[in-house]
């Protein structure tokens, strides 16, 4: 694919006329997907998908087009030239775009992370035995993901990685559930079996009789997987500069009124793990590490070059949507092994589900608890609780109500596959809250 990308880029760039500027992006995957239910195979298959996207700029006007690649060079070259010609016809008829981002050469890069993955015909046999005797629902995804970028200023980037993930739920006969994810790039059968055995042991804890709790405010611990979901909300009406400028961010209060969160709360965009590419669709390289909220104060936002031009601020080469690509929430000093003791009496939440802003300017989020959630009394886990709805503000639970942050960050690999398999994930610790609002 890299070779095809290079050839197509060369053809397109060689055919540019004077005054035309071009940005080219490729993205795609070769994937296996096996879906399990009741620890048996529900659906299984393979997907080869790749597309090329081109942005034409001429006389301060711009338009873009993308198309599926076939892998056949002559077919793809013909389609690429057809698309370029279509854009040429269109671009002159459009209004000028005062904030168009011209291609630049700020350096090229090439990264390839070769893994050792399960053979696609052996996946079912390798995965199935460890999940027998328990009810598992989930998805196996495995294969190569790639992305690349080139432009008419001469810059070029390529990033490819081999990854796998089994994202699953284990379910007891009376419908209590435990969540697990086993992900990586080098398959190790015994590590997989250990991961599954640990999850099955956790499921056994769910077999205790349940306890019903009433809506109200509770002392609460949210484990890293749940915190990862909350961090995800900062990508949607959160840390993006454009969303703040357009009045659509939950952080407008921090910018305009200098409101602060807890000194225990530090969020950054951090590419040091190297599991996601640092270049965006313009081919610009983001800084290796950028503090966003440092000890409760808003230090930086994610700023794309387009936003920088529009609002007269400095770009930090964020992606077009200014969402987090490699978020890291800093660990604190609460010993992870002492969490249950420190809760004393309250609730332990492993996972959250279906989060949404219920009042975005107010920073209020609603959502559900899900999977292994427990009532804790006198420092001991007493009983699983039924799923509850919460509705509370980030300015409370990341503010005055944030008592402590655990001392260990865990990586929660991205497993979403809407526009192809996602790369990277959220790195975060757990949080202990003095109070958390359950409403239904």
């Amino acid at each position: 694919m890299e070779k095809l990308f290079n050839q197509l880029s060369e053809t397109l760039l060689n055919n540019l006329n004077t005054g035309e500027h071009l940005k080219i992006t490729i993205g795609g995957e070769n994937s296996q997907f096996v879906r399990f239910s009741r620890s048996k195979v529900r659906q299984s298959g393979l997907v080869d998908d790749a597309s090329l996207s081109i942005v034409l700029i001429k006389d301060e006007r711009t338009c873009s087009g993308s198309f599926t690649l076939t892998g056949n060079i002559s077919t793809d070259e013909a389609t690429a030239m057809e698309e370029l010609n279509r854009l040429r016809t269109e671009v002159g008829t459009l209004p000028k775009d005062p904030f168009v981002v011209m291609p630049e050469d700020t350096g090229s890069s090439r990264e390839e992370h070769n893994g050792s993955l399960l053979n696609e015909e052996e996946a079912v046999s390798a995965l199935s035995p460890a999940m027998q005797g328990v009810d598992l629902a989930g998805i196996w995804a495995s294969g190569r993901i790639f992305t690349g970028n080139a432009n008419s200023a001469g810059q070029k980037h390529w990033f490819a990685t081999d990854t796998f993930s089994l994202d699953y739920s284990l379910i007891t006969p009376d419908e209590r559930m435990v969540k697990g994810t086993f992900a990586g790039s080098h398959w190790d059968q015994s590590e997989y079996e250990n991961n599954m055995a640990k999850s099955i042991a956790k499921l056994r804890m769910m077999e205790k009789p349940g306890k019903k709790i009433k809506p109200g405010a509770y002392r609460t611990y949210i484990a890293p997987a749940g915190v990862a979901d909350i961090v995800g909300m900062f990508s949607w009406g959160g840390v993006g500069e454009a969303s703040i400028q357009q009045g659509d961010s939950s952080l407008c209060k921090m910018r305009q009124n200098g409101i602060k969160m807890s000194p225990c709360f530090t969020l950054s965009e951090d590419f040091t793990s190297g599991i996601v590419p640092r270049f965006n669709s313009n081919g610009e390289l983001a800084p290796e590490k950028l503090d966003l909220i440092l000890a409760g104060s808003l230090k930086n936002t994610l700023v794309s070059t387009r936003t920088a031009k529009e609002y007269g601020v400095q770009s930090n080469f964020a992606g077009e949507g200014e969402s987090l690509r490699s978020p890291v929430l800093s660990p604190g000093d609460l010993n992870e092994d002492e969490v249950v003791q420190k809760i004393d009496t309250g609730i332990y939440l492993s996972n959250l589900h279906y989060l949404n802003w219920s009042d975005r300017p107010g920073g209020r989020i609603t959502g559900m608890t899900r999977y292994a959630c427990f009532w804790v009394e006198n420092g001991e886990v007493v009983a699983p609780i039924e799923n509850m709805r919460f509705d509370d503000s980030i300015y409370n639970f990341f503010g005055d109500n944030l008592e402590a942050v655990t001392d260990k960050a865990h990586l929660h690999p991205a497993v979403e596959t809407y526009d192809g398999r996602e790369m990277g994930g959220v790195s975060c610790p757990g949080i202990l809250l003095k109070s958390f609002e359950l409403t239904l």
Partner: protein, 475 residues
């Protein structure tokens, strides 16, 4: 549609399988967006590929393939066959060709003006005028006008003789204004998702919608917050769309009920034994699966398993009678279903989805409904949605509300929210609007499935009155 003759490609496949199917999809999605007076996007994406499906040893294996030449399709069929055989070592269910009925036919979206009748430049001009209408004054700090045009060709052929061609033209139009004063931010929007032609962008129509959005955004700046109380709730059609979607549609997808989604979207409070027995809502609640409503977003002739789509009652007089389950789910569960086995594109295997799922209108005029309420709240247009994995406990927020006092709409209110539990909520449905209040909406982004699939759905509903609902305002 393409360089590929699908029937020739099918006959050229040589594998030892019980059944082979090819589903080719070519979809072009165009965005034209003006934000804050400048073009934000003029993009077109074309997605094109073929799903090769093979049945062997009771299992379907698939290969979604972006190369459409005969050699590639042959290779895909061989690999799909090996996927099926590997699955047969630990299968959930043994399928036969009964899961892929033999059907021939075609479908075409209705439209008056074709895509070519409205140029890119002209559509930018109309969106710019819409923006100018949205920006009533400087208190509108950001606004956008968006046009999305989707053209889809989907062809399906199979070794047992199915041959289906479907052509869709789908439009989303979206107008949005953010108003700001002191610490108050209020967004107002107007969104349509329809199978329709370029007549959707008739200038007068566009400008009227944009003007209302801009004015109501400003109106919200001076509005009081929604009160916190348990009261009568009247929901407009554009909020009922979300209410039906989350608390009826997803709960009735048979693959969810069977447990396929327990690791992602979730399970359901509805079980197989509830069909024919569960009083889902009050007697006036009638829900139809209806792929035939003119211009609705998810009209089609056939689902992606080849089953012919027809109008059918899912809930009749409040009683649950049918599930949203395609042929595979019908075979697995024995629950009667509909033609809703759908894939988001060529690169995904079909699963049970909503399509057009509608609440049938009743008898009351809008004024009669309001007049019947001595105290309550009226809400329009969803802005926040969240529901649990069993589809029980939901909390929804709207953009715009009005108090109802002594049978009349009075003050405008901001940040209206409500929460309830699905089954008791639907049983508290007290009045239904008539055909005049029945409006058609939809969304392109219903997410479900592993691997994930975003699919287009349509929901139409009259205005509804619910009793004893918990409502509340902002922070």
């Amino acid at each position: 549609m393409s360089r590929l003759n699908l029937n020739d490609a099918l006959s050229a496949i040589d594998v030892q399988a019980d059944w082979v199917g090819l589903r080719e999809v070519k979809e072009s999605t165009t965005y034209r967006i003006i934000r804050d007076g400048n073009p934000q996007a003029n993009s077109r994406g074309v997605d094109h590929g073929v799903m090769v499906e093979v049945l062997a040893d009771g299992q379907f294996g698939y290969y979604g393939c972006n190369n459409l030449d005969h050699d590639s399709i042959q290779n895909a069929a061989e690999k799909a066959l090996r996927q099926a055989k590997a699955s047969a070592k630990n299968p959930l269910f043994e399928f036969t060709t009964e899961a892929r009925p033999v059907t021939k036919g075609s479908f075409q979206s209705p439209f008056q003006q074709s895509v070519n009748e409205l140029s890119a430049g002209r559509l930018n001009e109309i969106m710019l005028k819409a923006y100018n209408q949205l920006k009533v004054n400087d208190q509108i700090v950001s606004a956008h006008a968006m046009a999305m045009i989707i053209e889809t060709e989907s062809n399906f052929v199979s070794s047992n003789g199915s041959d289906i061609q479907q052509n869709f033209l789908m439009i989303q139009s979206d107008y949005s204004a953010m108003a700001h004063k002191d610490d108050i931010y209020q967004r107002r929007t107007d969104n349509h998702c329809l199978q329709i032609g370029m007549e959707e962008f008739d200038e007068d129509l566009v400008l009227a919608r944009a003007q209302r959005v801009g004015e109501q955004a400003l109106e919200l700046l001076d509005a009081e917050d929604c009160p916190t109380e348990t009261t009568n709730l009247v929901l407009a059609s554009d909020q009922m769309m979300l209410q039906i979607h989350e608390s009826v549609g997803h709960a009735l997808e048979v693959d969810r009920i069977l447990g396929d989604e327990r690791n992602y979207a979730g399970w359901s409070f509805v079980r197989e034994a509830d069909f024919g027995k569960l009083q889902y809502g009050s007697k006036i609640m009638n829900i139809t699966f209806d792929p035939t409503v003119a211009n609705q977003f998810a009209c089609y002739g056939y689902d992606d398993g080849g089953l012919k789509a027809e109008r059918d009652f899912i809930i009749k007089d409040g009683l649950l009678v049918k599930g949203l389950g395609g042929k595979e789910s019908q075979l697995r569960s024995g629950v009667p279903g509909v033609a809703n086995f759908r894939a988001s594109s060529w690169n995904r295997a079909p699963i049970d989805r909503m399509a057009n799922l509608n609440l049938e209108p009743g008898e009351s005029t809008f004024d009669e409904i309001i007049a019947a309420v001595d105290h309550g709240v009226y809400m329009e247009t969803n802005r926040s949605w969240s529901i649990d994995d069993y589809r029980n406990k939901f909390q929804f927020g709207c953009e715009y509300g009005k108090l109802i006092e002594n049978g009349k709409l009075t003050k405008t209110i901001k940040n209206p929210n409500y929460r309830a539990i699905s089954n008791p909520f639907w049983n508290s449905l007290k009045m239904l609007g008539n055909q005049d209040t029945f409006e058609v909406y939809g969304t392109p982004y219903c997410g479900k499935g592993e691997p994930n699939q975003a699919i287009r759905v349509g929901h139409a509903s009259p205005v509804c009155l619910f009793e004893n609902v918990e409502v509340f305002g902002g922070v």
